[in-house]
Symmetry: C2
């Protein structure tokens, strides 16, 4: 069994491997992702290599082995299922669930994820729009198109969020944006790339380019 810490590393490495902008998973990228020191990452790279969960090549960086990938996906599965539970059953808010799921994802018991999955009715997506891996490890592709790539005048459906921080989710909540909301791009301001949008056909609102980059559309 992997420790709490090993699991967080596997998950971070998996997440980095899914990012199209990241071509090589470096020591420093992992350190950055976890908020740890690069020296600590070197220690863990050694440990996970010994356990055959990753392969490390000075040139190519870190890569999950099949075994490591399988483990990472199971943690993500648990994380996302617990998020659905916390939102739907315990009625937590959108912005509260991630941190609690970050702890719950490490609970280990053979078929806990499967029972939870069944109890929740086999949900396809978590509350942030991320696909929930199936018991066999199969997982739908994540939404990757950003609202930032939308055309002025176009209307788009919010499918997922890229940033899952409380700050961002609380802001979305304030703007009444959630999964399924329709957003029309009215105008882009040349000065700073901020955007004027209409939320569910409401009054025009101005948001930053950083904001729209973190909204994913279907």
């Amino acid at each position: 069994m992997n420790t709490f810490s090993e699991e967080n590393y596997l998950k971070a490495i998996f997440r980095l491997s899914q990012m199209p902008t990241v071509s090589k998973i470096s020591t420093s990228a992992i350190a950055e992702a976890l908020g740890n020191n690069p020296a600590s990452v070197v220690d863990m790279i050694r440990k996970l290599t010994d356990k055959q969960l990753i392969e490390y090549d000075k040139k190519k960086g870190v890569k999950l082995t099949a075994h490591g990938q399988k483990d990472a996906i199971q943690i993500i599965r648990k994380h996302r299922l617990w998020e659905v539970f916390l939102l739907e059953k315990l009625e937590y808010r959108w912005d509260e669930i991630h941190d609690i799921a970050e702890e719950l994802e490490h609970i280990k018991h053979s078929d806990l994820a499967d029972r939870l999955d069944k109890f929740l009715g086999f949900p396809e997506y978590d509350p942030h729009g991320d696909p929930i891996p199936k018991a066999n490890g199969k997982m739908a592709k994540s939404f990757s198109a950003s609202l930032a790539d939308g055309k002025t005048g176009g209307t788009y459906r919010v499918a997922a969020v890229r940033d899952t921080s409380s700050a961002f989710l609380q802001y979305l909540h304030k703007l009444k944006i959630s999964i399924g909301t329709q957003i029309r791009l009215i105008e882009q301001i040349a000065f700073d790339q901020s955007l004027v949008i209409s939320i569910d056909n409401g009054e025009p609102t101005t948001v930053s380019s950083k904001f729209v980059e973190n909204i994913l559309i279907s």
Copy 2:
């Protein structure tokens, strides 16, 4: 916030303090309860004393402070609520839930216990018949009368179990005994104190004295 390990010590100390047979909570009793070495317990006694969660007196042994008791009860509350969840919602068996709850009880988030409590319909007892502490820390008295103290010829209702090990619970399952089952004491065998009982008016069955000691009646 207390660590996982500190919480397990607090819980063990609380449990010992509830046992009428234990007059003084000694280093060795705690070590025994947790399966740790007495030397490790000495370390932790120091730590919990510094945090003002316990008081230690060479003569009187360990005692929880008001603060320590409050923390211990909240952990027990979470443990028992999660057990109800696992049994009723995830359909785990009686003998499977304790170990999973042992992990879940340490998940920390301000109102997780309260939301879970509400979701489960404010249950009074956990699946082993132990009372679930309320949000304010109030807790019904545990059942303490043992079937071993029953009179020959008498019929008693199973209210709780003293031992919560898988081995014991699986045996109960096999004998079709659960909370609410009626047991009649038919005869005590003088040789080894084993007992002949009738379960829900069924055929006579012989069980050991150790067995009946671990069944609590109302």
